[in-house]
Symmetry: C2
């Protein structure tokens, strides 16, 4: 059931339903037509960005449970976290459900840590049905991690744009849907990048490390996957990741794509693309899940969400940026 | 394997070793003689409180692995989190180990969430050996959650004192030690308390909810446990918890103790006792583990660490305090 850093799921827990919410900027891109709740206004009827963020997470969570045809009582546990200090979006959303809750934190790799843990809980028989969910909001992240929005600070070209959106996946042993077959738990990797505007460069080594561990542990080739999907490396980080993997003699150029690269239509002010826990949560649970579900060109996906484990305090104290990436292998039904 | 919110561990994963680090104030109390690294100075040779905190966590983690007689390579995964924004103590400590890492956040209930998850991973065969660890530091918590220490703010009588210390437990399917037999995943409970200085009152309902769920799911009586050990309710919260459970017709007065109540020798300026993720981590992994290991008066313990899931932003925005408690049942070897 375990080889190196990779765990296997012999019972093949299924992702029986997903749901997503995304802001107007996100819905202008490729995910737009797949999102359950495309928002015209990123305040979502709330008075603060933080309230809007948790409302998005809760909406995605509830909708995914509904789409799975489950009642509230059939959900055994929610595994969730987010970028805000003390993961308040997840905790406050969980409060509204009254369901057992396991809080996790893995920055922007929360979606894959959630799928990995929910997969283990369901595969191991500790839950019949589990929900993994996360999200982020550009405005709450910006003011927490960077500067007050009102300052209108100039963004450097290596920066990314935090995705406003949330995604939720319902994992169950019974039902139809793409199966979680194995997962690789990431290690904390730090190549010494300290530029908080260059998350792609900071996270690329962690993504490369996890992809290489996964292939080594499973004895697979990159070509065994139709897609190796990283979380939010963006355009620059994505190139770095491919190069780092290439240096170890493994070629993922042909079948690697990054959620951050594809979430926005590339226009000037988003620079390297999308980031944030919501980035891979929205892309994976809408566009990618739909393709897996249809069983066309995408049958086997290695989903590797990536996270930068810094805080404003560690950066202020001169620390570099430790990063992590967790991988889950998802297989659509063979038709 | 699962009943209500409770999961069972048929393979009885063992806590084969624990280790703790604690500050001078903590070591003056009952835990003093059981702590592996009693510190004379809570800076632990570091230049900032945050660095001292992560050094404590890493020291506890390493020492616990050493005491378990394991090499670094034998540890499959670290499950850890802490109180600092973005759980930087856990992430930075995990970076030093190079081991697979699952970040969790459950405020001061991190120790029991960690034991619960590590227990599932080991019981389910997803890891042979897992480490659960957490900690906190009075000074880093105080300046993050409350006021700069230099202000010398007066503390109200309902307040508690964040424990400076860390604890780590090594869970393995093979080896000797008290066994994890089942665990109850907590729900987020909020009775509307908004006083950030009264964590005991905020968290007591969550502790009561989890204890009652646990007893209902398992069909057990409080007297089936030699001790029901909550995490950091403090003196006031502890009384409230006992009363709330009593109102539901269950009497835990005889065998309930709170880590926060016993960690300090009660003197005026600690008011309700200890709090923080390090509170239950230090008490459980030193004093209580020693008693379980010796197999004297303590054979069966229900460990229910408690957490308040607020942030300074949610409090500033007028929100109440959502709380959670996770329970793990630990059984010493019958002699």
């Amino acid at each position: 059931m375990q080889q190196g850093n990779t765990v296997f799921f012999p019972n093949r827990p299924k992702i029986v339903a997903t749901a997503t919410v995304a802001g107007p900027k996100e819905c202008a891109g490729v995910v737009g037509e797949y999102v359950d709740f495309p928002l015209g206004d990123d305040m979502f009827g709330e008075s603060t960005f933080e309230r809007a963020e948790r409302k998005m997470l809760l909406a995605a969570l509830r909708r995914s449970v509904e789409k799975a045809g489950k009642s509230r009582e059939e959900i055994d546990v929610i595994v969730s976290g987010d970028l805000l200090n003390q993961i308040v979006s997840a905790s406050f959303a969980a409060r509204e459900t009254g369901l057992p809750f396991l809080g996790i934190y893995s920055a922007c790799s929360t979606m894959s840590e959630g799928l990995l843990l929910a997969g283990m809980l369901v595969d191991g028989g500790y839950a019949k049905t589990a929900v993994a969910a996360t999200g982020s909001h550009f405005s709450s992240a910006e003011r927490q991690y960077r500067y007050p929005l009102e300052l209108g600070t100039t963004r450097p070209p290596q920066s990314q744009w935090t995705v406003t959106g949330a995604g939720s996946a319902v994992i169950s042993r019974i039902g139809e849907g793409p199966a979680l077959t194995c997962a690789t738990v990431g290690r904390v990797v730090d190549y010494g990048v300290s530029d908080v505007n260059n998350m792609g460069a900071a996270m690329a080594p962690a993504a490369a490390d996890t992809i290489l561990s996964h292939l080594r542990d499973t004895g697979r080739e990159p070509s065994d996957y139709d897609l190796i999907l990283t979380g939010d490396l963006g355009a620059l980080g994505s190139r770095l990741c491919k190069d780092l993997v290439w240096e170890k003699g493994v070629d993922i150029f042909a079948n690697h794509v990054d959620c951050g690269e594809i979430v926005y239509r590339v226009v000037e002010d988003e620079f390297q693309g999308g980031s944030g826990a919501g980035c891979s949560a929205v892309v994976f649970n809408s566009y990618i899940y739909d393709k897996l579900r249809r069983g066309g060109s995408l049958r086997k996906v290695l989903f590797v969400a990536t996270g930068a484990l810094l805080s404003t305090v560690t950066s202020g104290q001169g620390e570099t940026i430790p990063c992590i990436a967790h991988a889950v292998a998802v297989e659509g039904d063979a038709l």
